[in-house]
């Protein structure tokens, strides 16, 4: 039977006038990969800060493996490993010295510490550079060590806050594979990203955040169904779109039309069938189409459907 690894209830956080997290609630079960997807500033990192005990919520409560983060922080944090968004390492000492220190902070000692440090070095592929100063590492190697530290004490729950930002494809692949490997070992993972491909590939369930709120939550398939499995035709045109938008909205097979930054998005049931009508209508309205991009339903489309904005804005 699956138990609750992370339970978040009515979390709320303000920074002066900014309502960073607005009444957020969700539950993550053991062995699940749960992604928080949203643009920069959506409130993902603040939510993670409160779950990991770094920030105190204005309201609400968080439980990790049944322990309240506010009332029993030591017990709750002992079950948790966090991979912060920014690389948080001591660059002037070696990878091994970093792991030794962080291991001690998680309560590891003696033989157990030595063994786990060696295991993690192997896991993140840094055995050969174990005694080298971290400042001499590439960005990808530092990211891998950043992940390794969170795995030292074999936590039951791991939070990864955008762990693949700004790294080479090889290191990114290694991190994504290690996330899947951890899930296979029964570890619960809360993963935040603004890369929808990562969320799509890894997640059992996805919560989409925007402006501090969760606007959609479910499996990938459940979220796609929100937009009704519509194709998205993204057009670039040379004229102001007012008249042509009305014309396109009246076409058969077109469900919805939105305009954004000079680009028009048409949500259609079958793009192959409706595309000739779209071009014909544009010609009648003396509008020249200069660019066409057709996308099958994905999380980007879901976000666009829900907010009217692109995920990467």
């Amino acid at each position: 039977m699956k138990t609750e690894a992370i339970k978040v209830q009515n979390l709320d956080k303000h920074f002066d006038d900014i309502h960073a997290v607005d009444d957020v609630s969700f539950t993550i079960h053991t062995g699940e990969i749960f992604s928080l997807l949203g643009p920069n500033g959506a409130g993902k990192t603040t939510t993670i800060g409160m779950i990991s005990g770094l920030l105190t919520p204005d309201a609400g409560e968080v439980w990790l493996m049944g322990n309240s983060v506010l009332k029993s922080p030591k017990l709750a944090k002992a079950a948790l490993g966090v991979v912060p968004q920014e690389i948080a390492l001591y660059e002037d000492i070696s990878a091994r010295a970093n792991l030794n220190f962080w291991g001690k902070m998680y309560g590891l000692r003696g033989e157990e510490l030595i063994t786990r440090v060696d295991e993690v070095l192997a896991l993140v592929g840094l055995e050969d550079r174990a005694n080298g100063a971290v400042s001499k590492f590439s960005g990808g190697m530092q990211r891998r060590l950043n992940v390794g530290i969170a795995l030292l004490h074999e936590p039951q729950v791991i939070i990864m806050d955008e762990p693949t930002v700004g790294i080479d494809p090889q290191s990114r692949r290694k991190i994504l594979d290690s996330v899947k490997q951890l899930r296979d070992q029964g570890v619960t993972i809360l993963y935040t990203t603004h890369y929808m491909e990562e969320a799509q590939e890894l997640s059992d369930r996805i919560a989409i955040m925007d402006n501090g709120k969760i606007i959609a939550l479910g499996s990938h398939q459940e979220l796609i169904e929100i937009v009704g499995e519509l194709d998205r035709i993204c057009l670039t045109i040379n004229e102001k779109p007012l008249n042509v938008i009305r014309a396109w909205e009246s076409l058969e097979g077109v469900e919805k039309v939105t305009a954004e930054d000079g680009r028009i998005n048409l949500f259609v049931k079958d793009s192959n069938r409706v595309l000739p009508d779209i071009f014909e209508t544009a010609a009648k309205e003396n509008v020249r189409i200069t660019g066409v991009d057709i996308q099958e339903p994905n999380l980007e489309a879901v976000f666009l459907h829900l907010t009217g904005r692109a995920l990467r804005d």
Binding site: S52, G53, L54, T56, P73, K74, L75, K77, A78, L80, V82, P84, E86, I87, A88, L89, Y90, D92, I93, A97, F101, W102, K104, M105, Y106, G107, I149
Partner: protein, 432 residues
């Protein structure tokens, strides 16, 4: 224990930093060594040093007249003025290693000092003799016009001249007393007899010197420092400089150690520490402990180095221990306090540049005013800043003044508790 692990990690990182080591040990040792090399010969194999010879230009404008012009004492030169007697005294072999004498007019003498061709000009005014023998209302004066960059050599010359002049004054007073007594008994001395007696009286100090019991307080040119607990001018200077530098940079170390809290905050490692099952108090205390241990190492190394290499005597062990503990506690807590007032390492840079330099210089200002007329005022002004309390505690220690050491250490500990309480509360408020 996690607190120890945090402290060791910070110590390890600090001792791997070239800049930290340079400020903790390099600069204080270098400054003291520079003074030692400047004034002594400790660069050689012998544990001895020689006080440098000072070039002195004498301007003898003395126009006064002794009772018998060109009075000649047996075996001595003839003198018409006290100024001539003073110059003759300074030309004795005894002082050859201390000074090189030349004569010039006043303008040339001052110019020579201004151009650093001479270390000092000794200007004897026209009324010098008359003032000494009571023929003038003016007090006896001699002007010492010296190169401000030199301190030790001119200070020694000044002390010798003052001793010689004191000898003249006391001789004249004794002559007055003797002639009065003789007159009461009906014996009247003629001028030549008076002068002979005066000469003998003023020369008394010379003969006493020869006997090894000096009134002139002449400093022996060669001084053995090894294992000596006797203060001598050079050792006094080196000790003050080393203590001043040690205190000045101990406060830098304390502030630098506390600054790692801000550095870790900006690097993200502090946030990561807070996400481990380690209480905020343990994390902060571990970082405070690191600063405390760093300053302990710094103080032990500098005190030991100064004792072994320069033969500096720091006072009784118990007093030295008290002063050192006070310094370590105060420098650590002051660092925590000042860093708790700033939010970023950028702001901390201003603290280093301005606040620590100002308070540090004021605190150890007694080193720079040593031997000057304002020296006494600087017994108290430095107490306005924590560094001054530390300097006074160390001075009391090497002066074997246990009570003063205890009082200043007590003051330091009170300040340390105050600074720590405020700094600690502010940091905890920020991170809780």
């Amino acid at each position: 224990m996690k607190i120890i692990a945090i402290a060791i990690k910070d110590l390890w990182r600090a001792f791997r930093s070239f800049f930290a080591l340079a400020f903790m040990f390099g600069v204080p040792i270098l400054m003291t060594a520079m003074f030692a090399f400047l004034f002594g010969g400790i660069g050689g194999n012998e544990p001895e040093f020689t006080i440098p010879r000072t070039d002195v230009v004498i301007v003898n404008q003395d126009e006064g007249s002794l009772l018998v012009p060109n009075f000649e004492v047996e075996g001595k030169n003839s003198f018409s003025t006290m100024g001539e007697m003073l110059v003759d005294t300074l030309q004795q072999e005894t002082f050859e290693d201390l000074m090189t004498l030349t004569t010039a007019n006043e303008a040339d003498a001052r110019l020579a000092v201004d151009n650093q061709q001479a270390g000092m000009a000794l200007i004897i005014p026209a009324e010098f003799t008359n003032a000494l023998i009571g023929q003038s209302n003016q007090p006896a004066e001699i002007e010492f016009y010296q190169d401000p960059e030199l301190s030790l050599g001119p200070q020694i010359i000044q002390s010798i001249v003052m001793s010689v002049v004191d000898g003249f004054s006391s001789g004249i007073l004794t002559l007055d007393t003797v002639t009065t007594v003789l007159e009461d008994q009906g014996v009247i001395l003629n001028q030549v007899e008076n002068m002979t007696l005066l000469s003998n009286l003023t020369a008394g100090s010379d003969s006493q010197q020869d006997a090894g019991d000096t009134n002139l307080n002449i400093i022996t040119p060669t001084i053995n420092t090894a294992g000596s607990e006797q203060a001598n001018p050079l050792q006094t200077i080196l000790r003050s400089i080393m203590a001043g530098m040690m205190i000045f940079y101990a406060f830098f170390t304390g502030t630098s150690a506390a600054q790692t809290i801000l550095q870790e905050q900006e690097n993200g490692t502090l946030a990561r520490l807070f996400m481990t099952p380690t209480p905020t108090t343990t994390i902060l205390n571990g970082k405070f402990l690191a600063g405390f241990l760093m300053i302990i190492v710094q103080v032990i190394v500098l005190l030991g180095f100064a004792n072994l290499v320069f033969g500096i005597y720091w006072g009784p062990l118990i007093s030295l221990l008290m002063a050192s503990i006070g310094l370590v506690a105060l420098a650590t807590s002051f660092g925590i306090f000042v860093m708790s007032l700033v939010k970023s390492t950028k702001q901390a840079g201003i603290i280093f540049g301005a606040v620590l330099t100002f308070t540090g210089m004021l605190g150890i200002s007694s080193v720079f005013v040593m031997g000057t007329p304002i020296e006494k005022a600087f017994n108290y002004i430095p107490l306005l800043v924590p560094q001054g309390w530390a300097m006074n505690a160390f001075e009391a220690s090497w002066n074997d003044n246990g009570v003063q050491t205890l009082l200043h250490t007590g003051g330091m500990l009170v300040l340390a508790i105050l600074f720590f309480a405020i700094g600690n509360a502010r940091f905890k408020k920020r991170f809780n």
